[in-house]
Amino acid sequence: MALFTLNRENDIIEKIKNNIEINACLKYLYKEYYGFLERMVLNNSGSKEDAEDVIQEVFLAVLQIIQNDKFKGESSLKSFLYAVAKNIWLVKIKKQKAEHKRLNIWIEENPEFDADINDQIKKNEALELISDVLGSLGTVCKDILSRFYYENLSLKEILPFTEFENEQVLRNKKSKCMKALTEKLEQKPFMRESLYKALKIF
């Protein structure tokens, strides 16, 4: 691999880890690896639509695994993406009860990643099942919570994006929103339990 690419990828991994310039990082991943991942799915009895879904899930899982510090650059980003794609596609295939005729095309490489990848896949499945609670939260609440917990902004930084008078009012609103969200989670005990299990928080 060219030194430039290697440096670029190290830079990308570092940015993903710190949750900065995620859009630019994803742009790079899409540009460099979309075709590669699409071919992999197509070569393993998948359709173009399957490839689109799988690739989005692959990139999501890759971002999460990197952010959780489970990928430390032991192998190339390409091998890592390959491993994630393989696992996600296998799970999908099993669910679809499709024939496994051509699955032997996958080359077993970096099996050490598989445990972490499968953990992430399970987490995402559990998160996806319960994710509709966010939809019922309301735009203002979702916006505040997303900026605070996902973008990691402080209340002071969030204030200009809102119509609240001051930080204290915003703080109260954020607390109310978080309370509403946790209450909604409590209303789905089974899903919540499987989420705890997948997240390994007890």
């Binding site: 742009k27 997303s146 607390s175 919540r192 989420l195 997240l199």
Partner: protein, 240 residues
């Protein structure tokens, strides 16, 4: 301070060591606090998951939009190449087109004046013309005091055939100025055009063709290729 603020401070590592120990102790001892905290953590995981999912979805949309654009690009590129290629070929063709072949590749050949017009007072002129002795015809014409219609025509054609295009045009113009119908008007129009071509005056030749009577059989014989060549040469003449 709200309960959620404590959770945030703990998760963001902003608690003092003492507060942290107290908080962890309360988590161990108080089931309700622990349950709230677990729920809180799950909610944060869900928000982070949703945030990243939105980022991937947006990037996917952007990528697909750009892919569509790049799909369009080669079509535009191919169209540009085709147009450019056709233009280059046209320019090359126009550049290589000269008037040399226009005089040799006549759409139809000269219609012999036999049995047309008045009898030649000097019968020898027609005989000389048919023997291609153009100089002999010109001599008879130049020594004739009152050349008739046929001798003038034979002399015009003889000047044309000896490449004296100026003189041929001069005689044709004199005939036009008489404003009298001639048995050789069709030939005069056609050979006026050909004489201009012989002088490399393509714009004038084109004007003669444009003015030419539609009944003139010579006009009908101009094919598109011949006309195109004259038009290109006329354009080149104007431009350079």
């Amino acid at each position: 301070m709200e309960k959620t603020d404590f959770f945030d401070e703990y998760l963001r590592g902003k608690m003092s060591q003492k507060d942290k120990e107290l908080f962890e102790k309360s988590l161990d001892e108080n089931e309700a606090t622990k349950a709230n905290f677990l729920n809180y953590q799950a909610a944060i995981e869900l928000l982070k998951y949703d945030g990243l999912k939105q980022e991937v979805r947006n990037a996917h949309r952007q990528f697909k939009a750009e892919k569509t654009k790049t799909f369009d690009f080669p079509v535009v590129k191919i169209a540009v190449v085709v147009v450019f290629g056709l233009l280059s070929l046209s320019v090359l063709w126009a550049g290589n087109t000269n008037g040399d072949e226009l005089l040799t590749e006549l759409p139809i050949h000269y219609i012999e004046p036999n049995n047309r017009g008045a009898n030649e007072e000097k019968a020898q002129a027609e005989l000389l013309y048919l023997r291609n002795d153009f100089k002999g015809v010109i001599d008879i014409f130049q020594t004739s005091k009152a050349p008739n219609e046929k001798l003038v025509f034979l002399a015009t054609m003889s000047f044309y055939n000896t490449n004296n295009y100026e003189k041929a045009i001069e005689l044709i113009s004199q005939n036009e100025n008489k404003q009298m119908a001639s048995s050789f008007d069709n030939e005069y129009e056609f050979y006026k055009c050909q004489s201009f071509i012989g002088l490399n005056k393509y714009a004038d030749a084109l004007k003669v063709i444009e003015k030419m009577n539609n009944q003139n059989p010579y006009k009908q014989s101009y094919n598109w290729k011949y006309l195109a060549k004259i038009k290109i040469l006329a354009l080149k003449e104007r431009l350079f």
